[in-house]
Structure formats: structure tokens, C-alpha cells
């Protein structure tokens, strides 16, 4: 009996401590102005926010602190941010929890017409550095003024140069290569990661030759979908020659373990994995013709953010040439969100050569595609499910 009682006492103590800790949690909210920054994307974004952007930002604006929250990788992360903002709009709260968020392009499609965002971009001093069309239009939807690109990412084919002596330079050459090396190319289909989606979109663009219409000019013409049948049937045949991986990381892992010798990857993930010792430094990349899509990640500010002014200062801070050069390009080896010409001189040549070695700025401008207009995009995803069993 006494042992049981002592156990109960210990348990109670635990619970009391637990309550105190939880109560303590609430108190810490009453700090100086705290900007809540929700970011989708890689976990590096969390570390970046907490360890670098937060302290630097506070140094510049004393009395303001940054709280970084990570919602998960991929579009699922952006999805959660959308649901959160949508729920807050629905509840008719006066001020919302989230002050600034970083999202994928898909988010902008969901957010149109829902009046969730603040048109803040043109008020910033860094707006003049943005020249890319991505800042004005996302998947065919006009987003001008609502977004600032934080960085840009591109997909390309990563390959192991020990086994791939003469990498394919076009999609057509890739198909031939896959025939000669069955199971050595890997991608994740369209579920589980955007690298596979990008590859599929690039495939459709190649087979139909109608990239301009699907991604830039439009308009959306339902009749186009039926013309894709042969392209997808060919892709189904191609799938028989390749390995299907689990997702973005699945492809990189398989490359890492030598199970596949080539696969589509996001350039930023490629460099991150390499820096973290998870990818052999000798791995290379190639951007096949006619091209593969890429996308930026955007800063958005919710309409009723509690600290909208501080949020704007934060975005201005991250899109300034100094931060873009130091953090985005040099630390992470990502492509900047602002126009690269503004960073010249700030980036040492070694970094420049490292990032642009395999995929040069010329490659990017010629073969870096945008993802298609949202209706075409949705149709492409559904067609995959329909025609490839």
C-alpha cells in the first residue's frame, strides 16, 4: 500500500510541475512585440528563422522579436497555413495569430477571392529589386502587390557522374538512356513530392510543345486535355523502365544509396543535402531541354495580422540585397528571390561558381519554366491518375 501511495505522490508532483510549466508557457506570450512567422518548406527554414533571421532582425529593431513556426515540407505545409488563415477569416476575429507567412505558389491559387492577404509589397523599399515575372503572377493568377519572393528554386536532373558518363541533354535522350539502363532513373510520380510533379509537367510540355500556352498566355481550353492522352500513355511506358520513389527525399535518398543513378530534384534541396553530408559531393546536375519548371517561395502578410507593420519591416529585411546575398545565396546556395544583378559584388566567385556550375544563368533563363496555369496544372495531375494505372 505504501509503495502505491508514494507512486501516487510522485505522480501528483509530476502533474503539478506539468501544470506550472504549461502556465509558464502562456506567460511568455506577454513579451515585447512578437512577430509570428509561419513558414512552409524545409526544416532549414525553421533553423534560419530561429537562429539567424530572428536575432538579426531584433538587432535592427530592438523590442521586436521573431517567433518562427514551421508547418512542414511541400505543399502540405502551405496547405496548413491556408487552413489556418481561412479558419481565422471564418471566425471573424479582429486580429489574427499569424503575422507573416512563407508559402508556395499553390497557396496563391487557394487564396484568390478569399480576401485573406494584405497588398503590402509595393510599399516596401525592396520592391524595386524585384523584376522577375514570378512576383507579379503565380500559376497564371495575378498576385502583384501581395507577394515578395524570398528565394527561387528550380528542378533539374541530378546524376551520379561515375555511372552516367554522358548525361542526357534532352527529354528524348533521357528516354533512350532509361531504355539502356532500366530501373536506374527514379522519380516519385505525382504523389508525395513536387520534384516528380515537375518532371511530369516538363514531360507534358515536351510532348505537346505547348509550354507557352499552358504556363504563360493561356487561356484555359478544356479541349487541350484530350490531346494529352498519347503523352501520358508514353509516360506510362516510360514508368516501366524506371524506379518510382516515395517523394522528393525518396529520390535523393535513392541517389544517395546508389539505387538510382539519376532523378529529378529541387536544386535547393540538392545543395542542402550536399552541405549536410547526405549526398556525395561529386553528384552533378543537368537541366534537360526543353526545360523543367521551378517556383519561388513567397512572403505573404495576412489581412488582419496583429503586427502588420513589423511584418512588413521583416519582409523588407529578408529581401534586402545584404540578407539575400549573405543568407540565401551564400549560406544556403539558393537562387535569390530578388534580381541577381543587384547582388553582384556581394557574392564571392567561388559561391557563384558552385551554384551556377551545372545550371547556368543562361540555362535558367532558357530552360527554367514556370508551372502551368492552375487549371492546366490540376488537369495535368488528374490526367496522370486517369491514364497511368
Amino acid at each position: 500500500m505504501s509503495r502505491k501511495k508514494s507512486f501516487l505522490v510522485v505522480f501528483m508532483l509530476f502533474a503539478v510541475v506539468g501544470f506550472l510549466v504549461m502556465a509558464g508557457q502562456k506567460d511568455s506570450e506577454a513579451a515585447p512585440v512578437r512577430v509570428v512567422y509561419m513558414t512552409a518548406g524545409d526544416v532549414n527554414m525553421l533553423a534560419l528563422g530561429q537562429n539567424v533571421l530572428g536575432p538579426e532582425f531584433s538587432k535592427k529593431y530592438p523590442g521586436v522579436s521573431l517567433m518562427t513556426v514551421h508547418t512542414g515540407p511541400g505543399d502540405a505545409g502551405s496547405r496548413l497555413i491556408f487552413e489556418k488563415l481561412s479558419a481565422e477569416a471564418d471566425s471573424k476575429k479582429e486580429t489574427w495569430d499569424v503575422d507573416v507567412a512563407m508559402v508556395h505558389q499553390m497557396f496563391m491559387k487557394w487564396a484568390t477571392g478569399k480576401d485573406l492577404l494584405l497588398p503590402y509589397a509595393k510599399e516596401l523599399s525592396t520592391w524595386k529589386y524585384i523584376t522577375s515575372p514570378f512576383a507579379k503572377s503565380s500559376l497564371g493568377i495575378s498576385v502583384e502587390g501581395f507577394v515578395m519572393p524570398m528565394f527561387h528554386s528550380q528542378t533539374a536532373l541530378a546524376y551520379n557522374p561515375d555511372y552516367v558518363k554522358d548525361p542526357p541533354k534532352t527529354y528524348a535522350e533521357l528516354v533512350e538512356w532509361a531504355k539502356r539502363n532500366p530501373r536506374k532513373f527514379g522519380y516519385n510520380g505525382i504523389k508525395g513530392g513536387m520534384s516528380g510533379v515537375a518532371f511530369t509537367v516538363g514531360w507534358v510540355n515536351w510532348k505537346t510543345g505547348k509550354y507557352e500556352k499552358y504556363a504563360v498566355t493561356g487561356p484555359f481550353d478544356k479541349a487541350e486535355i484530350a490531346t494529352w492522352e498519347q503523352a501520358y500513355k508514353d509516360l506510362g511506358e516510360f514508368n516501366k523502365l524506371v524506379t518510382i520513389t516515395g517523394g522528393n527525399v525518396g529520390t535523393l535518398d535513392a541517389l544517395n544509396r546508389g539505387e538510382i543513378w539519376m532523378g529529378p530534384v529541387w536544386v535547393d534541396m540538392f545543395f542542402t543535402f550536399m552541405n549536410e553530408g547526405k549526398l556525395d559531393p561529386k553528384t552533378r546536375m543537368v537541366l534537360p531541354e526543353p526545360g523543367m519548371p521551378g517556383q519561388p517561395m513567397y512572403f505573404v502578410i495576412p489581412k488582419k495580422a496583429t503586427h502588420a507593420e513589423e511584418a512588413k519591416k521583416f519582409v523588407e529585411f529578408v529581401t534586402s540585397p545584404e540578407t539575400q546575398a549573405k543568407e540565401i545565396v551564400m549560406r544556403f546556395n539558393w537562387y535569390p528571390g530578388i534580381d541577381g544583378s543587384h547582388l553582384k559584388g556581394a557574392i564571392p566567385p567561388e559561391t557563384f561558381n558552385k551554384i551556377y556550375k551545372d545550371v547556368t544563368p543562361a540555362d535558367l533563363s532558357k530552360k527554367g519554366q514556370a508551372f502551368p496555369l492552375s487549371e492546366y496544372f490540376a488537369a495535368m495531375l488528374e490526367s496522370y491518375e486517369k491514364w497511368i494505372k
Binding site: G74, D75, A76, R79, M106, W110, N188, G189, I190, K191, G192, G193, G196, I244, T245, G246, G247, G250, D253, A254, R257, G258, E259, A378, L381, E385, K386, I388, K389
Partner: protein, 290 residues
């Protein structure tokens, strides 16, 4: 006398009402509305009208996946239950240093969340993962043609790995309540091991085994992380992966909720079996009281 006591228990409504009130009310409040809302949404098509469109689309695109989910779940549950019973029997009947070591060892997977199990299995079962590398070192397979486990088999292995300890813990707990005298009595009547298992241990422990079965089955149906990491975009995949895909890429709650309803029906199958035998047991219980 006994009959009076039974009747009195049946008539005395307040005691059990009060006892179950908090738990049941909590469930209705927290879960009832979102759940009904989900089912309701499965009948709303993209135009906002009430229709069966979503069901048609789901069957068209995902019937194979639904079948796949059912197969993996049923197989994993059956294998887990069978092996768990054997393990629990072993632990019940033997008391030596080896069985004690086993008792400590087998519980470990219980503490590992599915998200972590997914990670581990991804690294362990990969074509060039730890398992294949080890087998290659032992010259049992050739690394050029390794075991392909990112499929039905690997998924079943992952589920079984996590679920056997869970079931064994529950079933063993039930076995422990069976007094040694029953086993000795059976033994002294000349019953062999198999008879002891099938005629004494398992029947006396019906409720625990049934609980384990249903809990395991429903956990497997609802799991997302393990199939996502092992199978991900391949065809076929599980219902949970498809739901995530529908929500994340299309914000298509119609089809997502429809898939959910199918998943719910899958669980309902076992549930009905469980409920029927529970009711039978209840009436049997009452009968033995009277």
C-alpha cells in the same frame, strides 16, 4: 434472490449513466460535429450541390487503392494477432531468464511513434538499406538484385513490427489474469500444449484478444506516415496517402471525405463482428447471472 439482484441492476439507471456520461458527452461534442460534417461534405460536389459525384470519382480513380488498403490491413492484423498470441502464450507459460529478456525486448516498438517507424523502415528496407546490405554481406543475396520491399510486403512488415508488441502486451495482460490452476487442471487431464492454448488460454481471454484485434485494425487503416514514406506516390497506395494528396493539391474535400467514408466502412466490418460478439457475451453474462 439472484433474479431480484439482476432486475434491480437493470432498473437502476442512475449509476451507469453517471459513470459514462463524461466520456460519452466529450466524444459527442468533440468528435460528433466534425465527423458528421465530414460525411456530409462527401456528398457535396464541387458545384456545391448534393450528389453522388464524389463517390463516382473515387471509385473511378481509387478503387484499387481501397482494395490495397483492405488487403494490407487484414493481412497485417491477422499476422500480428497470431504471432502476438503465440508470444503471449510463451511468456505466460515460461518463467526463465530468456523469457524475461524477451519480455523486456518485445515492448520497445510500442514506444516508437509511427512517424519514427516510417523513418526507420525507410532506411532499413531500402534496396540498398541496412537489411539488404546485411544480407549481401552474408552472401544471401546479390546487391545488384536486392529485395524490393517498398511495396505491400515491406508495408506489412512495418505494420506487423509495430503492432505485434502492442497486441502482445494487451493479450499477455489478459493471460496473466488466468490463474495457474486452470492450466494445471488442463495439463493434469492430459492436454498437450496446443490443447491448452486452444481450449483454455484463448477462450478465457476472448475479450482482450478481440480488443487487440480491433484496435490494431483501426490503427493500421488510419496510418499515414508509414505508407507515405514507404510507398508514397506508387500505385497502388493506401487511402490515407490519397486523402492527403486530394487535400494538398486540389483542396478537394469532397473526394477526401468520400475516401474517409470508405475507410470508415472498412473499419465498420470488424466493428460489426466485435459488436455482435460483445452483445452475445453480454446476454450470455446476464444469463449466467440469473
Amino acid at each position: 434472490m439472484e433474479a431480484n439482484r439482476t432486475r434491480r441492476r437493470e432498473l437502476s439507471l442512475p449509476p451507469y449513466l453517471l459513470l459514462i456520461f463524461p466520456a460519452v458527452t466529450f466524444m459527442f461534442l468533440m468528435y460528433g460535429y466534425p465527423f458528421l460534417s465530414s460525411i456530409f461534405r462527401s456528398f457535396i460536389n464541387p458545384q456545391g450541390e448534393f450528389s453522388f459525384d464524389n463517390y463516382g470519382k473515387t471509385v473511378d480513380l481509387y478503387l484499387k487503392d481501397i482494395g490495397f488498403t483492405l488487403a494490407v490491413t487484414a493481412l497485417s492484423t491477422a499476422v500480428s494477432a497470431a504471432l502476438a498470441i503465440l508470444l503471449a502464450v510463451y511468456l505466460r507459460l515460461r518463467q526463465n531468464p530468456i523469457s524475461r529478456a524477451l519480455a523486456a525486448l518485445y515492448k520497445i516498438p510500442i514506444f516508437i511513434p509511427f512517424v519514427v517507424v516510417a523513418q526507420m523502415m525507410n532506411s532499413f528496407l531500402a534496396p540498398h538499406g541496412i537489411l539488404n546490405l546485411a544480407l549481401a554481406k552474408l552472401k544471401l543475396i546479390d546487391l545488384q538484385d536486392p529485395l524490393q520491399l517498398f511495396n505491400f510486403y515491406g508495408l506489412t512488415f512495418g505494420f506487423v513490427w509495430k503492432m505485434i508488441p502492442f497486441s502482445a502486451l494487451i493479450i499477455h495482460g489478459g493471460f496473466q489474469m488466468i490463474d495457474n490452476s486452470y492450466i494445471e487442471a488442463a495439463r493434469s487431464c492430459g492436454a498437450g500444449l496446443v490443447r491448452v492454448i486452444t481450449r483454455v488460454l484463448v477462450p478465457m481471454n476472448r475479450s482482450s484478444i478481440l480488443v487487440a484485434l480491433v484496435l490494431v485494425y483501426s490503427q493500421i487503416v488510419g496510418t499515414f506516415t508509414l505508407p507515405y514514406m514507404l510507398i508514397g506516390g506508387k500505385i497502388p497506395t493506401t487511402i490515407t496517402v490519397d486523402i492527403a494528396h486530394r487535400i494538398n493539391y486540389f483542396r478537394d474535400f469532397g473526394v477526401a471525405n468520400t475516401l474517409g467514408v470508405f475507410s470508415y466502412l472498412l473499419v465498420l466490418i470488424t466493428a460489426i463482428y466485435y459488436l455482435r460478439s460483445s452483445v452475445k457475451k453480454m446476454t450470455g453474462y446476464q444469463a449466467s447471472e440469473a
